[in-house]
């Protein structure tokens, strides 16, 4: 009885819905050639690798004092169609997550930048959603922003490259300016795509440093966070290229989940089996734990590539070890909101906005330590927010 009633109700509801009209939100332009590149199982693309390595030596356009506004070989595009009078624009931001310290640091910087623009009357409301690293959730988030029809500009920090492509295309098709940053998507429909040089350059900076500073035949251990994430896979792909051409021996590559205890455990076991002369990491989370493993085992410090996380920089300074901190420029979190206001003013922006990405070396270690002296240990040195009014409290007392 209840089943029949349920079925009847369902049929009635369906009929009603069909009568009220059928809509589809599928991206209008089918992505044919774009997706094939991203869906390749192989992470290494020679042309992209060569391009990124070359970009490291190209002087970016713009003021070096504001690296977040610099751009490498920009191709300026006209954004007149998006010009909006009157200020107080509603800017929406679909964030992949704030699930690691790098993203937390950047997220604070972005919010502080937004406050400045809000006081200037350029941005009115700043709406955000956080997908908690769930691609499907982020697709819904983007759809909700587009469907609300209230966003004057949409900023997207995609969780995964290939999977967010259809959603970004939908957003582009809605006619508002779309700004993608950090990880990319397999479509160039966005008004601008903001990112530092990229994963290959990061991995290469680290690997080249090890090759230069270690004797031929030395042994290197690679510590990686997790498989399958393109920005991280590119780092490792570049490192494999460079190690492959060198006389260093790669002992192994291990996934650590960025967990300090796991890192220390793995390094300790490698040290128990033999010497490790160098450590390559695809991200600096837990780098200090790796260094401590050497201390606790009574072994000499390795030549090390970490990241610009302060805990590592401080340990490096303390121990005087030979190290480099490759940088995945955290200040890129300022750029998207600035780009949004530029676009809404009708100013030109680079179609692909490539930000500088320079590692921190022995030479500028002291400078970055002094600048960030008050900051917590899981803060990123190149966060680029020193001139914002909220500095230093917003990052320190969070």
């Amino acid at each position: 009885m209840q089943t029949t009633r349920l079925a009847l109700a369902a049929a009635a509801a369906l009929g009603l819905l069909l009568a009220t009209g059928c809509t589809t939100d599928t991206p209008t332009e089918p992505a044919d050639d774009a997706t094939t590149e991203g869906s390749s199982d192989e992470w290494f693309v020679q042309a992209e690798y060569d391009a990124q390595l070359a970009q490291r030596d190209i002087a970016p356009e713009g003021d070096p004092a504001t690296p977040w506004l610099q751009a490498i070989e920009p191709e300026w595009v006209d954004t007149g169609e998006f010009t909006r009078e009157g200020g107080d624009a509603t800017v929406c931001f679909s964030n992949a997550s704030v699930s690691n310290p790098w993203r937390v640091t950047g997220w604070i910087t972005m919010q502080e930048q937004v406050k400045v623009l809000q006081e200037a009357g350029e941005i009115g409301e700043f709406r955000t959603s956080d997908a908690g690293d769930d691609d499907d959730q982020q697709i819904s988030d983007i759809q909700a922003f587009v469907d609300s029809g209230e966003c004057d500009a949409l900023i997207i920090s995609p969780s995964t490259t290939a999977t967010l492509t259809p959603a970004v295309e939908t957003a582009c098709a809605s006619g508002i300016p779309v700004i993608v940053f950090d990880r990319g998507v397999n479509t160039d429909c966005a008004t601008t795509f903001i990112h530092p040089i990229g994963g290959y350059a990061y991995g290469a900076d680290a690997a080249e440093f090890l090759v230069e500073n270690l004797e031929p035949g030395s042994k290197v251990l690679a510590l990686r966070i997790l498989p399958g994430v393109d920005v991280l896979e590119h780092r490792w792909a570049a490192a494999q290229q460079i190690f492959g051409d060198s006389e260093l021996e790669v002992l192994g590559d291990e996934f650590t989940g960025g967990d300090a205890a796991e890192i220390k455990n793995i390094v300790t076991q490698y040290l128990q089996r033999g010497d490790v002369d160098g450590i390559w990491m695809d991200a600096g989370d837990g780098a200090v734990a790796a260094v401590e493993a050497f201390e606790d085992a009574g072994k000499p410090y390795p030549v090390m590539a970490g990241e610009d996380e302060l805990s590592f920089l401080r340990k490096w300074d303390e121990t005087g070890m030979t190290a480099i901190a490759p940088v995945y420029s955290n200040f890129q979190w300022r750029t998207p909101v600035l780009a949004a206001t530029m676009i809404l003013r009708g100013e030109q922006v680079p179609a692909e906005w490539i930000l500088p990405q320079e590692p921190i070396t022995e030479a500028d270690l002291d400078d970055y330590l002094a600048r960030n002296a008050d900051m917590p240990s899981l803060h990123y040195a190149k966060f680029g927010g020193e001139d914002l009014p909220g500095f230093p409290d917003a990052w320190r007392d969070r």
Partner: protein, 333 residues
């Protein structure tokens, strides 16, 4: 499952009331905030959120009714999205084959889970955690990233909607209706309650308990396969990374929110759908109100515990009214 006490609400009705209450409170909160929870955009958002968890939770209901559990559904969904996307390979003509293959593969994983639980007598928590790990190893080794290409036709499944109702939500509701029918009107469906209630009594009364358990697991696997198809349609490609989202815990939370007992034997799919909806409404409300993502986790956790505590209270009252089992001790015949 029907409540015989006329003046007391059935658990399912209570859960639908809870859903209405959540909607009302959420709507009021959003309105105070100056928004409208029932604007088309928000309704679409809410309903879209129900589809994915819905598929997983429907399957999960069946295994939980049998006093089992499936912690591998997130991995099965990720695997299914890859099987779908790589089989389709951008060709609309391959869609039927891909769907069939996905259902086959996911059903087989479900069968493996069922067999390990039913024949090898491994606790379902460990058995499905183990198959989940095996799948994770396979996915990490075999697919280094997103793979395959879903043709535009099939992407419709993830994006088309009729008025404000996404097609995926309609398909989910259809599957739910089928599951309700299955549980209410088929013999295997009835047996699931018996197996979950007391497996020994069920066996003694002539039910082939292993077969029932196996069926539940196969169906649960296939529901996870449907979730994988939806993921593929939404992503336009297959993604191994989808397993990192702990969908299985969401699904279990939805099932329990829907009034199904984790110890089996009691509950149903209608409640589960309401449970899924409650979670989706919460998420939408949090989203519209721009709640801090971490505060979201806290609220979610608190709501789940509070809701289940409420149901438990009711069930306690009800058992207290029944003649006590202890008065007539069960004797093996």
């Amino acid at each position: 499952m029907t409540a015989f006490a006329p003046r007391r609400l059935s658990t399912t009705a209570l859960i639908h009331l809870a859903l209405a209450a959540v909607l009302a409170v959420g709507g009021a909160a959003v309105a105070l905030d100056g928004g409208n929870l029932f604007a088309t955009a928000n309704l679409v958002d809410m309903l879209t959120r129900t589809s994915l968890t819905g598929f997983l939770a429907i399957g999960m209901t069946l295994v939980i009714l049998c006093r089992s559990l499936d912690l591998s559904v997130g991995y099965v969904a990720a695997l299914s999205s890859l099987v779908a996307a790589t089989t389709m390979d951008g060709q609309a003509a391959n869609v039927p084959l891909a769907v069939a293959l996905v259902l086959l593969v996911s059903g087989l994983v479900g069968a493996a889970n069922g067999a390990i639980v039913a024949f090898l007598k491994v606790n379902p928590f460990i058995a499905t955690l183990g198959t989940g790990l095996i799948l994770k190893g396979y996915l990490d080794t075999e697919y280094q990233g997103p793979a395959g290409d879903v043709p535009a036709v099939f992407q419709q499944f993830g994006y088309t909607r009729i008025a404000f109702v996404p097609v995926s939500a309609l398909v989910m509701l259809a599957v739910a209706a089928a599951a309700i029918g299955f549980l209410r009107s088929t013999r295997t469906g009835h047996h699931m309650y018996a197996v979950g209630g007391d497996v020994d009594v069920a066996r003694m009364s002539g039910i082939r308990t292993t077969r029932v358990l196996l069926t539940a697991h196969v169906l649960c696997g296939m529901c996870a396969g449907l979730a994988g198809l939806l993921l593929a349609a939404r992503f336009g490609t297959g993604s191994a990374e989808a397993y990192t989202n702990l969908y299985e815990l969401d699904a279990i939370a939805a099932v329990v929110l829907g009034g199904t007992l984790l110890l089996g034997g009691k509950g149903g799919v209608a409640g589960t759908v309401a449970g899924v909806a409650i979670l989706a409404v919460l998420d939408s409300v949090f989203n519209v109100m721009q709640i801090d993502p971490f505060a979201k986790d806290v609220l979610r956790g608190a709501v789940i515990i509070a809701a289940v505590a409420l149901y438990a209270r009711r069930q306690l009252d009800r058992t207290a009214r029944r003649p006590r089992f202890a008065a007539t001790p069960r004797r093996p015949s």
